[in-house]
Subunit: 555 residues, 2 copies
């Protein structure tokens, strides 16, 4: 049987548009000989629909759209393949959450049956127990007879609980095992599995091991595209009963992959560079492009400081929407180095972006005057630095408001972690392109960009010591540990849930660890008001980071 | 048996401090003759600890603190009562989430046993399935033999699933029913049940009905105090086996209530004004006071515009931390009315607050000059209004940074819903006191404040038409429907999950509904970066509102 994996990039909530995307991909798969088509998880709503699911009218509209789609596909392809369509389904039992996360089996013009997701991820960025009731995996309800086969339909997390693969399991049941016990002859999975670094190798290894363990072919259809903080990297795939990867769809873009479940005619696999900078680049470009386009923005702007962060964000934005649609704004102050202007202008020339320069000294002077009486007799401190940063935020937002271009904010994860950033200042902006990249990874990405794009980022920007340039002679490393040390501590504290005591026990300098952990705690209020950014790490700030504010520090 | 309900106000994460709070309350309860003491849910960590629970070191430290506390209490009161202590417990089974939400039974100096919460709320602001594995309620594991009684220990949500009380149940099991079947002779509940309007009457009615249904006394211990967005209103209570309310602890403050499970010596019940403005006032004052104190702030400041919102926030802040600790900042522009200054000064005099006045015309002029070239030939629009608002934000944050006073932001729920506010402008601030109050409720609260506080809010502020005063002659109602209409639509769309189509079907003007719903959608990006505010409504913006950004509108 030839399976069509419709690796779609849906827009969240766009039921009509997403149905049209399914329809176009279905047509293409039919033309390629598909006998069964599979969409990603919740393809009709896009994933994740989040609290849109709490509106009963939304689920009803999705169901109506699914039924209309089933009828349309049948009308056009009367003997065509069935479609397994990800769509929420109302729980009419009167008990529990209002919905199921379902796969609707569309055949002969109607929704013939549904299979319900059993394992509901409720960790990190996932909140599925908030919306969905669990399906009952234990009775083989997900096994569907179709054209002489017994197809086990599972949804995303349903695959991620194999007791032989994982040392620690989150759920007592394994829907795959139950389906195999019910006589499945092939495994099918609808997914919306977001990108993070190093995930693809785990994913591919796990899928292969499940196929091999059960001696069954496994067809896996993943979502592509960026939805807010999450980027979905696609890479839908077909595995043979011996675990061999037989075919794989494109990474980080829409695709339709049609392949033989029997393993006949295996694909010549495309190459896939899984190095961290290569993966990061593709994720950031796609995430930025999709956030802008799905929000309706055609243009973006950002402040260019002459530093590495804004250079990298400019390069990502230029790649995502074209340099002609990106404006770089230079806002030098009396404390700005000569390089901050020259290097930014060179960067913009290299990328092909326009720039605008607005010196802020007169605005700083105006604030000094306005606050002179209030601040009389008080020493200068970070207040004056924050004022500069907020002047720039106001200018950038004014340009955004006046021109309809989205302001991209350029902070990295290291500074967001320790609060080395100004709320309502440089944190201003609608989208935070590199807020999940520690500074050391920003440099690695910059080198990758220069390898790809002919040294677009000037060497001076690569080489200079990081500085906020908010007072004369300032350098990041006057206030912070060296970034190699800082990032190593943050990786443990922020991404691996290690407490200060545990990090000290791992051999880091105790005073440095204590200081860094205290800074992380103290910056929580800034992160609460931060722009959404693209998830790259295993654990990221944003919707999957839920720390209390008015709280004591961790022990 | 005399039960001591230790209605505590813990600080989240402050294990040592919270243990000391339990200890002091325990001593007081012993002095009042308690034979068994109960804390609120997770009293040792404070509720909700949120992602602090993901740190294994945190749960370990909590357990160690619990054991040390049990030993200390026994040393001081060798024949003293047992303590039922809310504390997370490590799930050592190797399957599922890492923790249980547990009640530790501390007796004779050790933790004798634990009872685990079965029903894990995962909706609205609650994320318990993110952290906890469910206890097994079905086998009567929560019934504890103690001094001749069989006490059924349940935790918060465990009580909220009675099939005779609720028309729709979220869970298939009822831990109370299971405990009664196992021979319980009394019901005990550790809660952290946050305040919202109209909740107390439901809560009291439900608790009474459960006691009566099973013919058992019910002792209910709730948390008091504000933790970030949530205010816990206490009102711990004892119900007799006929459902009679026998005793109730104070609302909105710490308390120790000792009462006879037998119903002997019932308390003369304190009065409790459950009107919406009275409840709101107590919640906002407590929430503001606790946010400030638990974050370590002694002082607050806010912008005074001459409007009702900043007047109400000023009154709340003055009540919460004393008017001598609240600074009002007047920042008139050329578009400000005379009243904006005079009325604000009168308000501040009435409340006993200091003020400072910083005219912003020179700053507006400086921005006009800086942006003249960029804006050449473009018409004025809301950009210029936003610049003013962001100038004020910068000034307020500068005063906050320089003096260490927390900036309170003054926006109401109506404007936050439709985006009638400036991100990084008037939305600047660390805490949003009235962000869950629709404008109509702000007026109701203002009248209540004037009844309580001798007309502190000048009549001119009560009477004037709402205006942002960001351009000459501007009034809110030029841009928005009348607030009575707007708030009615918002109540359906934002608080009752009704789509535009459903609201139109309820009889509202279709064009107005469509416009309001589109505004709500369009302002999502502002709310994503809004300051935390105090939850007052059944459904609120903030941590319990999780809408996608780059998404199509609801149908």
């Amino acid at each position: 049987m030839r399976i069509g994996l419709l690796q779609l990039n849906p827009k969240v909530g766009d039921l009509r548009g997403n149905a049209a995307r399914v329809e176009a991909a279905f047509d293409r798969a039919v033309a390629l000989g598909a006998e069964l088509c599979i969409t990603p998880e919740l393809a009709l709503t896009g994933y994740p629909p989040r609290d849109m699911l709490l509106y009963a009218g939304f689920a009803c509209a999705a169901r109506a759209e699914a039924e209309a789609l089933a009828a349309r596909l049948h009308a056009r392809h009367p003997a065509g393949p069935a479609l397994v369509l990800g769509c929420p389904e109302v729980n009419a039992s009167g008990l529990g959450k209002g919905l199921y996360n379902a796969a609707l089996w569309c055949e002969d013009g109607t929704v013939r049956l549904s299979v319900r997701k059993s394992l509901l991820p409720t960790y990190d960025v996932f909140d599925e127990a908030r919306y969905f009731e669990s399906g009952d995996a234990s009775n083989g309800a997900g096994v569907v007879e179709y054209r002489g086969m017994r197809l086990a339909v599972t949804i995303c997390e349903d695959l991620w609980n194999d007791k032989d693969y994982w040392p620690h399991r989150l759920y007592p049941v394994d829907p795959v095992e139950a389906a195999v016990a019910a006589g499945a002859s092939a495994l099918i999975n609808l997914s919306a599995s977001p990108f993070s670094l190093r995930k693809q190798s785990v994913r591919q290894d796990m899928l292969s091991s499940i196929a091999k363990k059960h001696g069954l072919p496994l067809a896996y259809c993943n979502q592509a595209g960026g939805n807010d903080e999450l980027v979905f990297d696609g890479r839908s795939a077909l595995f043979g009963p011996d675990g061999t990867l037989l075919a794989r769809a494109a990474g980080f873009e829409e695709d339709v992959l049609v392949a033989d479940l029997s393993g006949a005619r295996p694909q010549v696999l495309p190459t896939d560079d899984l190095s961290a900078p290569a993966e990061t680049w593709r994720a950031l470009v796609l995430g930025t492009r999709d956030y802008l386009s799905k929000c309706g923005f055609k243009k973006a702007l950002l402040g260019l400081s002459g530093g590495i962060d804004s250079a990298v964000v400019a390069a990502v934005a230029a790649e995502a929407i074209g340099p002609q649609n990106v404006l770089g704004v230079l806002m030098p102050s009396p404390w700005s180095s000569r390089g901050s202007v020259d290097d930014s202008l060179e960067l913009a020339r290299n990328l092909g972006m326009e720039t605008r320069t607005i010196p802020i000294a007169p605005l700083m002077q105006a604030f000094n005057t306005a606050l002179a009486e209030s601040f009389a007799g008080l020493p200068q401190d970070t207040t004056e630095e924050n004022i500069q940063s907020r002047i720039r935020g106001n200018l950038l937002m004014a340009l955004s408001n006046k021109t309809g271009a989205l302001l991209l904010t350029t902070g990295n994860k290291s500074e967001l972690a320790v609060g080395y950033c100004t709320i309502y200042g440089d944190m201003s902006g609608g989208f935070a392109v590199i807020s999940d990249l520690p500074k050391t990874q920003v440099y690695a990405l910059a080198r990758h960009i220069n390898a790809l794009k002919g040294r677009a980022i000037p060497q001076a920007i690569m080489d200079k010591a990081p500085s906020a340039e908010l007072k004369p002679g300032q350098k990041d490393q006057d206030s912070l540990p060296p970034y190699e040390v800082l990032d190593a501590i943050l990786a443990l504290h922020v991404e691996k849930d290690k407490t200060a005591a545990e990090i000290m026990a791992a051999g880091f300098d105790a005073a440095t660890v204590a200081r860094v952990c205290a800074l992380v705690k103290g910056a929580e209020f800034k992160r609460r008001q931060a722009a959404p950014g693209i998830k790259v790490a295993w654990r990221s700030f944003g919707s999957g980071w839920r720390m209390p504010l008015a709280a004591a520090p961790l022990p």
